[in-house]
Amino acid sequence: MSIQETAILEPGLAWILIALFTLLYVGLGWYFGRHDKELDQFVLAGRRVGLAVGTATAMATWVTSNTTMMAPQLAYQMGIWGMIGYSLGAVGLLLFAPLAKRIRHLMPYGYTSGDFVRLRYGKLAWRIFLAISIFYSLGWLVSLGMAGGVLTHALSGIPYWQGMTVILAACVSYTLIGGFRAVIGTDFIQSILILVGLVVLAWLTIGRIGFDEIHTSLEQERPELLSLMMPAAIMFLFNNLLFGMGEIFHSNVWWTRAYSFREGVGQWAYLLAGIFWAPIPIVAGFIALASPALGTNIPAADMVGPIVASELLGLTGAVIVLIMVFAALASSLDSLLAATAMLVVRDLYYRHFKPHATGEHLRTATKVTILLLGILAWLLCLPKITTLAQLLHFTGAFVASTIWPIAAGLYWRRTNQWGASLAMVLGSAAGILAYFQIGFYVGALVGAAVSMVVVLATTWARPGDFDWERLREPPPNH
């Protein structure tokens, strides 16, 4: 049964907007990817991506439904610290900047994050890492699909499953048609749409409702949202920061970009993307804090952003939010589909089952996997079992446990395979325990802390002596 009865957009208008932007993205996907016939071109855009497009794709991918819809949700649940804590997600991009440089330097022929873990730590750690990474990717995919359904439902009353289906189908289509170049090309357009949309929304919001009114309403009705001593929010601060670091450090989404950027571009692209990204959750989150002043009912926490924007700004606001969040969703969904398909094809299919596959065969396998991932995400999105924040933060315990194995593995010769494997297993277990015992706002923090202690202890107790040259695995003959 529906829990939202007050929608601003006519369903017909919402469908027209979705159809127009779907056509635009599919068209652009075809245009950008029309010359990419080789495998390296299809999955890594020929490894020649420049600074402007590199920065835009990193920023647009990190501006997801998580930013545009979860930042307001967390501001609504955790107040000021929720908003600021979310913007600390930028630290993940900033700290990945030097890692991107190191990755490109150590692995000029790499394809996936799995390649690094396999070569650096061996098969056991690699398989644990793959389990974590594929689980996380599915969680993120499902959260993005859910966000598409929640968004269209909140703005127009279109049933959740219909909006979710159409948005997923649109992103699968253009990723299939154009490959990685389509992903980063559309990211560039989408990042412009997102930034312009947010600036217009912030401008209109400040013009229509004052800071004083927002503050007074919060103080009277929801005082803890203004409190800097709210316990859950205090725990959430570093949890979100470490979660973001874990997502970026381990995920193939960011590693494929590090491989695809021209030499010397990765560091600056990630640095600039982090700087441009940081204020976005503050702007998006601020909108949610206006809700008590407006007297708007919020039926579900993950709907607060679109509902307040459309309530405050009427039809214009609803249209801007739909276009902006669709762009944000698409820019992340396509990247995630392409990067996860690549991880599945190269690390599971090629390395485990078809080591002699040709480039043409792997290109087809990548396309089939993109389609299958889309279908799997759709099936998992249908029941809508939880909120966006809870779903995504459940994966936080797992990904945060990879921070130290990845970072120490890139810089320290002495970190060994047993330490890395144990850190990921024990970190994930401890994080999940904390998630259920305390709350979703501590899973990543505990996972990262336990993983760090294990890496430090095992590196000190049984130091290895890794030869960096082993990471320069020659490119496969396809």
């Binding site: 049964m1 529906s2 829990i3 939202q4 009865e5 007050t6 609504y76 649940q77 955790m78 107040g79 630290v91 700290l95 030097p98 890692l99 440089k101 190191r102 330097h105 919060l218 009705e221 929801r222 005082p223 803890e224 949202l225 203004l226 001593m229 709210m230 316990p231 859950a232 929010a233 205090i234 725990m235 601060l237 570093f238 949890n239 920061l241 470490l242 670091m245 009912n297 919020i298 039926p299 579900a300 926490a301 607060v304 921070i403 130290w404 970072a407 120490a408 890139l410 810089y411 320290w412 305390i438 709350g439 706002y441 501590v442 923090l445 505990v446 990262a448 802390a449 760090m452």
Partner: protein, 164 residues
């Protein structure tokens, strides 16, 4: 003297028989018809100050709106209308420690009203500040250690390979 005290004063056998017979009447659902809305909360003890209330009617034909009341006490001596409208849920956040009581009723298009739902109690009990700052401190250590390790590693890489 309350019903419960009266029961306690009876001999064992009649007490058991009467308890079994009266059990449905002591239940909050007693007297409920199909028109009585069901009210639920995502948590009865909110440790982060937020929770979602959801309500529904078995047969929603002809429902115009719902009225959700909030009160400090379980007898709803001085209730406040928290929400009135067509939505079937609301998220409450930013609350300080305390207990709130809720009940909901439906208003139909012909003007008649359903009975109130059985009351629902939600307690807000924030985590302790000791626990919060303890985890904050651990998070800070992990973050600064990671950032320090990356900074030191990058510096060492620049020294070893100034061109790279």
């Amino acid at each position: 003297m309350s019903c419960v005290q009266t029961l306690r004063n009876l001999p064992a056998l009649p007490r058991v028989i009467l308890t079994v017979l009266l059990l449905p009447a002591l239940s909050p659902a007693w007297g409920a018809t199909q028109e009585t809305p069901v009210l639920e909360s995502t948590s009865t003890e909110a440790r982060a100050g937020y929770y979602q209330l959801k309500w529904s009617l078995e047969d929603e034909a002809g429902v115009d709106r719902f009225i959700l009341q909030e009160a400090d006490s379980s007898d709803f001596a001085s209730p406040e209308v928290f929400y009135e409208g067509a939505d079937r849920a609301t998220v409450i956040s930013g609350r300080r420690d305390g207990t709130a009581h809720y009940r909901v009723r439906a208003v139909f298009e012909d003007g008649h009203r359903s009975p109130w739902s059985p009351p629902l109690e939600v307690k807000v009990h924030h985590h302790s500040t000791v626990q919060a700052f303890g985890l904050f401190f651990i998070g800070g250590i992990v973050f600064f250690a990671t950032a320090g390790m990356i900074a030191a590693g990058s510096r060492a890489q620049r020294r070893a390979d100034p061109e790279g």
